[in-house]
Every structure is written in structure tokens, then in C-alpha cells.
Amino acid sequence: MGGESFHFVSARLGTSFLVWLVVGIALALPAGLWILQVNMNEMSAGWEGRPGLSVYFELQASTEDIEVAAQQLRKHEQVESVSVTSADQALDEFKTYSGLGDALTLLAENPLPASLTARFAQNIDTDVVDRLIAAVQDLPGVAEVVVEKTWLERLNDLSTAVSRLGVVLAVLFGIGAVLVTASSVRLAIESRLDELRVLKMVGATQGQVRRPFLYFGAIYGFGGGVIAAMLIAVTLVVIEPPLQSLLGSYQQELDLAGFNLGFLAFLLVLASLLGVAGALIAVRQRLNNLELF
């Protein structure tokens, strides 16, 4: 009787497609957020391995002050590299990137401070980081020490927020998907009540009467899952180039994770199960206690 369900779906392809679309969109949002969150975790994991710090100097800081700070950091074995940006270099960079160019030559003084960035070894201790910060902060000419970890933490917070939003949306839209299939399956049942009564009259079991509609729900759910997968795939293709250039400026390789066979299988199975759940609701409402005549 599975064939009948397929027949029923294909005979109403227009309506079925609408249901697939609605279920698909409902599933695409939380599933997309999940992928986003996976990638954010991956990024922060990638960066967490090589944190560093930036030191900003006061405007009046001398070259010696800068050199002392750089030496202080360099001599520590868990600091891999230190690169210094002098005030003049900073101004040049700013000219190039801001496009203001010659306009800045009108300034009497360079308003930009010198800075340096230090990269730590992969597995540096937080204690060591804390001591380094304390040591550098007290050096003459140092205005501010910024640890990159702070924005890492922001990314983590954001990732947590995204994941919670994903869970909330998954629950809400999951319920939506179930209700949409439930009402579609209910319509399918209504349109065949006479037939179902005849089936019961000639001795069909409850299972035989229900089964086509459970398949039916599974087909609706599965189709919705396929649509969701396509929506996510298209979205990824669209956002990949801008993400690539954004991350490129952080020397970070873009390698979108999460959209793989396991994810697809999970999405399709989950979607089918939601469809079956919807069908079960419809069947319970409409087919249990079906009066014969």
C-alpha cells in the first residue's frame, strides 16, 4: 500500500510541493543555524591555538621604549614572533587603506601610536599570558595591552547564542513542520474516508488503514528535508565568496564544515520522522474511532 501513498502524492504534486516547501523552509532555518554554529566553533578552535597580544604605545613613547617591550616579549620562549609597527608605518598603512592619502600630510603630528603584536606558541598557559601582560603593562611608554582572547570570547558567546537560537527555532519550526504535515495528512484522510470505511468493513486492520498515511507523512517530511538541504546548499554557495575574503584578511582559510553526508542523512531522517509524527497526529484524530456507516 506504499505505492498508493506515492500515487496520492504524485496526483497532487502542486499541493505536495507546497507542503515540501513549507516544511523545507521551517527546517532550513534551524539546520542552517546549526551549520553556522559548527563553523563558528571550528573557527574559534582554529584561532584558539595561536592567540597573541597587541601592545599600543603612548604617542610620546620612544623607539627605545618600543624596543624594550619587544625584547621583553621576544626573550620569552613561548612567544613565537613579535612584529613592531612604528607610528610612521601605522600612518602609511592608514593612508593607504583609508584613501585619505595626502590630506593627512596636513596634520602637524602623527596621531597614530606605534604598536606591536606578539604571537604565542600553540599551547601557552593562561598563567604565562597573565604574567606577560603584567610585565609589559608596567613598562615605560606602554599605553594599553590587548589580548586577542577577548574577541575570541566574544565569538564563543556569539556561537553559544546562535546555538541556543538554533535550538529554540528547531523546536518551534519542528512543531510547525509537524502541524503542517498533520493538516495535509488530515486532508488526505478526509478525501478518502469512504474508501477507508470500506477497508474497515472488509476487515482491514488498524495498521493497514493507517500505514499509507504514515508513509504519506514520511514522504512529506522527507521532501521537506530535501528542500531544506537545497536551501542551505544554495545559501552556503552564496555566502562563501564574501566570507572567504573576510576570513582571508585574517589569514584564515575558509573551510565550511558541517554540510556533509552525515548532516544530510540526519536532516532527512529527522524530517521524515517529523512527517510521520504529523501523520500520527492526523491519524489519531481522524482514523481512531472511525464510524463504519
Partner: protein
């Protein structure tokens, strides 16, 4: 299976109306009975109780000594597979061919495809519809549709055959032919109960007649002849092959 007894059966609806009041009556296995009475007398309610589409408010409906009103929901399919049911508006599935309509009870019973084909053709032969397997119900005349309904009811070789106004829409000649078919099925041991308000037709046949009025049995006329005599008297149709009853 085929022995039916109703003991003090009352069916009162929620609105207080009693469609059947304290009905006690029995049907021998292999008997043929007409249930008559005016419209609203309780004939359909009577048959619904036997089909277990409804349950009595009081009393027992015993089929082979089992009170079917107390049958668990999950045992109903098996019970119904032993029944054949014919309605006035035959309840054929319009989207399926004659063959598929008749095959339905066999498919539900999980029979193998080859056996289904054999049985469906035998059953269609009994109602003179061989060659129409591929047609849809809308292509058939009313009388033919009714006969498809009968073929579907008997294709499982049921022990009990219930018919509710099976000739309601048919002209007298077709009605006589349909009743003749029922007599033939009864001949091979099926317990047959037919509800009909067509008193003239029924009296002429001379089978047992149970008369209902306002939900009460007001008359139980014994048969004046057996179905064997009846079948012998009427002209046998060329396709009347009723063998193969288990």
C-alpha cells in the same frame, strides 16, 4: 461460524430513541432470512450490530456463542473478514477497477496474487460479470454495480452474508435476479440475512421472514420452501458455478 443469536437486544441512541427494543431471535447456521419492516423499523440498526459497526445498549449479540459486542477492537478485523456485506449504495471505490474492488477483501486478508486473480474471476463469474474486470464502476449500470458489490461480499467465501436493501435501486426483474443470487450463496452453507422493505418480492420467494416494527419483532414467518427448492425452480444461469465453498 454462522450461528447467530440475539438475546434481549436493545439499542437506544443518545437522543433517547430506541431503534431496537428487547429483540430476541436466532439464526441457524446456513439459514436464509429476510428482515422486513417499514423504513425506520430498525433493520439497518439490526445489521450494524451484526457487523459490529454498532453495539447494543443492552443484551447480547452472539455469533457462534461469542458476544461480539465485547470483542476487543483488535479482534474486529478478523471477525469482519468472516462476513460479507452488501449495501444499497454498494460503496464501491470509484477510483478502482471492478477487479480491484472485488479483490479488496482478499488483499486485506493478505492472500497471494495468483490466488486473488483466481478467486476474483470466480466471484465475478457467479454474478455474471466476467469480462468487466478492467472497467471502472462508473462504466457499469446500477444493476451491474450492485452485482460487483455482491461479488466483493462473497469473494472471501464468508460464513455470514449481510445485505441491507440490496435491491433498493433496482427494477423488479433485476431485484429478482439479485435475490436469486443470494439464494444460491445460501445453498452452499452461508448464513444469509437480507434487510428489505420490498414485502411483495420477499413473500413471493417463501423464505423465513422476520418482521420488525418500531424496533420490535412483530412477526417471524417460517420458510415455506428451502433455497434448494427455489434454486431448482428458477432457471440456472449459464455461469452459475457455485463450487469451491470451503
Amino acid at each position: 461460524m454462522g450461528h447467530i443469536v440475539l438475546q434481549h437486544v436493545t439499542r437506544r441512541f443518545d437522543n433517547g430513541h430506541e431503534a431496537l427494543s428487547d429483540v430476541s431471535v436466532g439464526f441457524e447456521e446456513g439459514s436464509m432470512t429476510f428482515l422486513t419492516g417499514h423504513s425506520g423499523a430498525g433493520k439497518s440498526t439490526f445489521l450494524k450490530l451484526l457487523l459490529r459497526a454498532d453495539v447494543p445498549t443492552r443484551g447480547k449479540v452472539l455469533v457462534n456463542d461469542v458476544d461480539i459486542a465485547r470483542l476487543a477492537e483488535k479482534r474486529l478485523p478478523r471477525y469482519r473478514q468472516h462476513l460479507g456485506v452488501v449495501f444499497q449504495d454498494h460503496h464501491l471505490l470509484t477510483q478502482r477497477t471492478v477487479f480491484e474492488n472485488v479483490a479488496l477483501p482478499l488483499r486485506v486478508g493478505g492472500m497471494r496474487e495468483r490466488e486473488i486473480g483466481r478467486r476474483v474471476r470466480a466471484s465475478l463469474g457467479q454474478v455474471d460479470l466476467l469480462g468487466k474486470e478492467g472497467l471502472f464502476p462508473r462504466h457499469l449500470s446500477t444493476g451491474e454495480q450492485q452485482r460487483v458489490g455482491i461479488a466483493r461480499a462473497v469473494v472471501t467465501r464468508p460464513k455470514i452474508l449481510l445485505a441491507d436493501e440490496p435491491t433498493g435501486n433496482l427494477d423488479p426483474q433485476l431485484s429478482a435476479h439479485i435475490m436469486d443470487l443470494f439464494a444460491r450463496f445460501n445453498q452452499v452453507g452461508t448464513t444469509v440475512i437480507i434487510a428489505s422493505h420490498d414485502i411483495q418480492l420477499i413473500e413471493a420467494m417463501g423464505f423465513r421472514m422476520l418482521q420488525l416494527e418500531h424496533g420490535r419483532v412483530v412477526g417471524d414467518h417460517a420458510a415455506t420452501r428451502s433455497t434448494a427448492e427455489w434454486v431448482g425452480e428458477t432457471e440456472a444461469p449459464a455461469t452459475a458455478d457455485l463450487g469451491g465453498q470451503e
